[in-house]
Subunit: 175 residues, 4 copies
Amino acid sequence: MKAPELQASEWFNTDKDLKISDFEGKVLVIEAFQMLCPGCVSHGVPLAQKIERTFPHDQVAVIGLHTVFEHHEAMTPVSLAAFLHEYRITFPVGVDMASDTAMPLTMQAYHMRGTPSLVLIDKEGQLRAQHLGDVSELQLGAEIANLVGERVAVRVDDDPTQVNLGQCNADGCTV
Amino acid sequence: MKAPELQASEWFNTDKDLKISDFEGKVLVIEAFQMLCPGCVSHGVPLAQKIERTFPHDQVAVIGLHTVFEHHEAMTPVSLAAFLHEYRITFPVGVDMASDTAMPLTMQAYHMRGTPSLVLIDKEGQLRAQHLGDVSELQLGAEIANLVGERVAVRVDDDPTQVNLGQCNADGCTV
Amino acid sequence: MKAPELQASEWFNTDKDLKISDFEGKVLVIEAFQMLCPGCVSHGVPLAQKIERTFPHDQVAVIGLHTVFEHHEAMTPVSLAAFLHEYRITFPVGVDMASDTAMPLTMQAYHMRGTPSLVLIDKEGQLRAQHLGDVSELQLGAEIANLVGERVAVRVDDDPTQVNLGQCNADGCTV
Amino acid sequence: MKAPELQASEWFNTDKDLKISDFEGKVLVIEAFQMLCPGCVSHGVPLAQKIERTFPHDQVAVIGLHTVFEHHEAMTPVSLAAFLHEYRITFPVGVDMASDTAMPLTMQAYHMRGTPSLVLIDKEGQLRAQHLGDVSELQLGAEIANLVGERVAVRVDDDPTQVNLGQCNADGCTV
């Protein structure tokens, strides 16, 4: 399945409006988070930072997506900017575009069920995996390596979304 | 030394404007924090919550103080309210009163050097200890028990402030 | 209740055969452990080491007691000596005296229900608290401080043993 | 480089004397540890257990190797058996064959510099990586996935041993 396009009203840590196609040839990791979601702060965002440090940047790209679906007035771009500074997040972060419901547009398009959600997109822009809540680093390392190792070839997945439900009551925020 | 009075522009989780004298007869623990300070989120606030769960409420009271000295526009009361909800903080939290400098008034009066700062005030309203950054739970448990066990009596400390400097570069925020 | 006497077949990190009376005037903390009990290694023994580092040695003494009640042939004094060296345990450790049952003598006398067990004995040699499994550091710090602060006086507890049952299935070893 | 043969005087959790060739067609992970090495207990052995749980057993095999190079009299097979039971280690564990020096034979053949050491051997029995001390799970997951994904083909590494030196002073045991 083609990964739905990113719809962001604003970007941090980058000068341009990023699109999925900007990452073709690389594995793209999207960390969808909310700055006031405890599970995002304690493990979602740190995991994205570890991925950025572990894999070569010409093979794996990491971006964040601020997918606010609650407390909108508390998590404005002004607050997000300070959060990114305090937590030393240096990868590009987009603000998911507000919709006429509580859930923003990209989050809807990916059928995300909460935050943190980690999305893996392959070198050809196909959505290959989506994890909600806590993720095993061993398994994630293996999944990323598998995508890095792939030859460019068309592959069709009927249902590529592998949702990890899990210890998300206290840690993460389910929709 | 008499503990400086609390100066708060707003309170959460309580109906009244709290004063130091409201806690006479109890040991008062003040957790001074900023909602976007990583060390406050990872250990300062959780420690205050543990103190609240561990000691009898008729002997030890815990309150928070939102002492914002940076990114003021990012940590408004609207954002703080959502933070308290998401992190399930149920003790009273005051918003330290803004001054004409970056540092708010109560924080100035206590000569705090950053966040998280944990303040211990005895049953008679005397400032007895002040810790910056990470704190040993064993030692803190002992300090609180010592204050709980004290007979009410005048005690004069020339310099009651015991500042723990420490692993505050990455964890906490020094002024 | 008078604390039952220590019955050890051998001592490490000390030249003499220690008795409860050797610690009169100090609070005595006894960490009862087995070197192959996972909960003892991960939190029981480290907690005893923290107590030793936190409190003044003229007020609080820490000793260990190797209370082997299973796998006796695997946890001989020869193995214990290497364990103490590798884990840098410097406080005195006694080998609880074997009995004609699996459970050694001191462990029996204290009615311990497993390892790790942490025992608190006051300045006058009275048994004041006994915790099985994981222990809150805040609470333990308070308990030790309370005993340190006590004037020497006779106090009779009908049942001084406060046994903390808890997360001892995976962590500790219940008898 | 062809992985040196396993030389074990005894095996646990298996009926047969295992050889490298028994694992051809699978990626083989060898966790070399000592039961009284703190870093082995806190992260080396748990990591091996996680690998065993994460990867399909028809693709990745995990075995342990008890490479005792100090305190030999304290870490005999009798003690090891109790350790394996208490820590619920269910993968095969070999006792590295004693030599006329302190260091046992397999450990010598692999030029291991201490414990824990984690060795990766590919489907064709080639030694591909060797890590001393703490290892990033993300990176290790990627390395294992890369070996799983390989077509069977001859590959020559001049120096395949990638030794991770690191936080091994307190955690691990360097030769």
